[in-house]
Each structure stands twice: as C-alpha cells, then as structure tokens.
Amino acid sequence: MDQRLKDARIFNLIVFAAVLFAIGPYFVMSAPVEQTMGLIQKIFYYHVPSAMMLFAAAFVCGIGSAVFLFKKHAAADRLALAAGELAVVFGIIVLVTGPIWARKAWGVWWQWDARLTSSLLLWMMFVAYLLVRRFGGPGSEKLSAAMALFGMANVPFVYVSVNYWRTLHPKTSVITEGLAPGMKAPFWFCVVAFAILFTVLLTLRTKLEKDRAVVEELYLALDE
C-alpha cells in the first residue's frame, strides 16, 4: 500500500479516536446512576475498557513474540514491543482507577484477592518484559519474548479469577448479563473508542520501531 495512503488512514483514525474521546464523557454522564454504588460506578465506563485493552495488548504481545521466536520475523518482534508498552500503559490505568472505585464502593483501596493480585502480576510481567528488552543486553529480545508468552498465558486466569475465587470484585457476567439497557450503549461506545485508540497507538508505535530499524540499517551501511 502507498505510504501516503497509510499515513492518511492513521490520521483519520487519530481524528476519529479524538472525536469519540471528546463525546465519550457526555454518553457516560447520560447513563443511569447505579443503585447501590451511585456516581462512583461511572469509573466502570473507562476502567473495564482499559482492562480489555490490557488483555488485547497482552495477547498481541504474546502472539507477536511467539511468531518472532519460532519464525524469526523481526516485524513480529516490533509489534510485540509496541503491544508490550501498551499493556503497561493500559495496565497502569486499570490499577489506579480500580482502587479509586474500590475505596468508595468497598471502603478499601486494595484487597489481595485473586483478581486484583493476578492483574498486578500481569502488569508486572509486562513491566519486566520492557525492562529486560531495555537493559538485558544482546539477545534480550528472545528472553523477553519468552516472558511475553507467560504474560499472555496469565490473561485467561485473570479473566476467570472472579468466577472461581471469592472476591469483592464483580463477576464477568456483569458485562454480559448485569448491565441495565441504559448502561449498555455508553459502555460499548467507550469500548469502541478505546479499541480505536489502542489500534492507533499500536500502529504508530510499530511504525516508529520499523523506522528506527531502517535508520540503524542505514548507519551500518554508511559505516561499511
């Protein structure tokens, strides 16, 4: 595909994501207030989409790393790096907005239960992934790729943890069955907005890494 067409598509996506994020708060505020938690439940509309993007980033990073490990595709490694960074970005949003919600709804900032602890571990795995890549020296790409596989494998456990262990955190059925009709549209609107933002950031970061690889190759060619 022509590079200018690609750039135009990325730009259109950026504008679209910005528009969705600008009108998102209006949809969130127009959603009905939840009966027991009240206004604080509004955090749900960006806490859960952030968690979904954390899971998506972990999967992209894991799959990219697997392709890099077994097929030696450098492009897959670049995609994995971009997704690894996004897992850390969306993970920190989840881990900060969640306790703010919990403080009001449960009366505590944090509980060492299965969902919260496994989410923290998942985030720490991707922080470790980036640290190994940054400071691990030669060959650290392969080591970090293996770590990303474990990070991806952790995602299903984080997801089902609320259904199998006793926890204060709501179950996954809240989204599939427990949402009032007036809450569904704003929630899925936010999910779409976050998904588009995630796609834009992933594309930009991967492109940046590709350009960096080209510059490095040019330096090497020039020195020879």
Partner: protein, 100 residues
C-alpha cells in the same frame, strides 16, 4: 538500719508516688460526665450515612478520568519525542551521505 534498706524504702516510695500520679488522672477523668450531651451507651444503625460524612464520589470519578488522560497524553508525548529523535538521526544521516 542500714543505708541499703533506706534506699530500698525510698525506691518503693518513689515507685508508689509515680504509680499514683499515672493512675489518678485517668481515674479522675473516668468520673467526669461526658462533655457534650448524653452519654452514648448503644450504637444505632442508620439507613443512610449523613452527606457530610460520605466520601465525595464526583472528585474521585473526575480524578480517575484525569489520570487516564495524563497517562495517555504522557504516552503520546513519549511517542512524539521518539519520532523527533528519529527525525534528527535521519537529518544527521543525510548530512553524512552528502559529505561523502
């Protein structure tokens, strides 16, 4: 009577005086009537917490939303800085190619 016995007696007297001072205050305080209104001897639950004692939800929701924006903008700034660095390197490469 030896000097040692006198010392022991003095120590006992000093300890008793100190013990009296430490316990007299709280015992006297216990005897005082409550400062404001009737004494509370039972806890009665209310159906809703008074508004003045509740944690305000709106600042927490707005704070969490602001945090989301700060993190996302920080990441976009990080990307922008990386892009600028790459542009500088490309300009440097161009100069080196032209000088060859």
């Amino acid at each position: 009577m030896s000097d040692g016995d006198d010392m022991t007696r003095m120590r006992i007297a000093a300890t008793a005086a100190l013990g009296f001072l430490l316990t007299a205050g709280p015992v006297r305080a216990l005897g005082q009537p409550p400062a404001g209104g009737a004494q509370v001897n039972d806890y009665v639950p209310v159906t809703s917490v008074p508004a003045a004692e509740q944690l305000p939800a709106a600042p927490m929701v707005i704070g969490a939303y602001a945090f989301l924006w700060v993190v996302l903008l920080a990441y976009v700034f990080f990307l922008w800085r990386k892009m600028k660095g790459l542009e500088r390197e490309l300009a440097d490469l161009q100069k080196r190619v032209q000088s060859k």
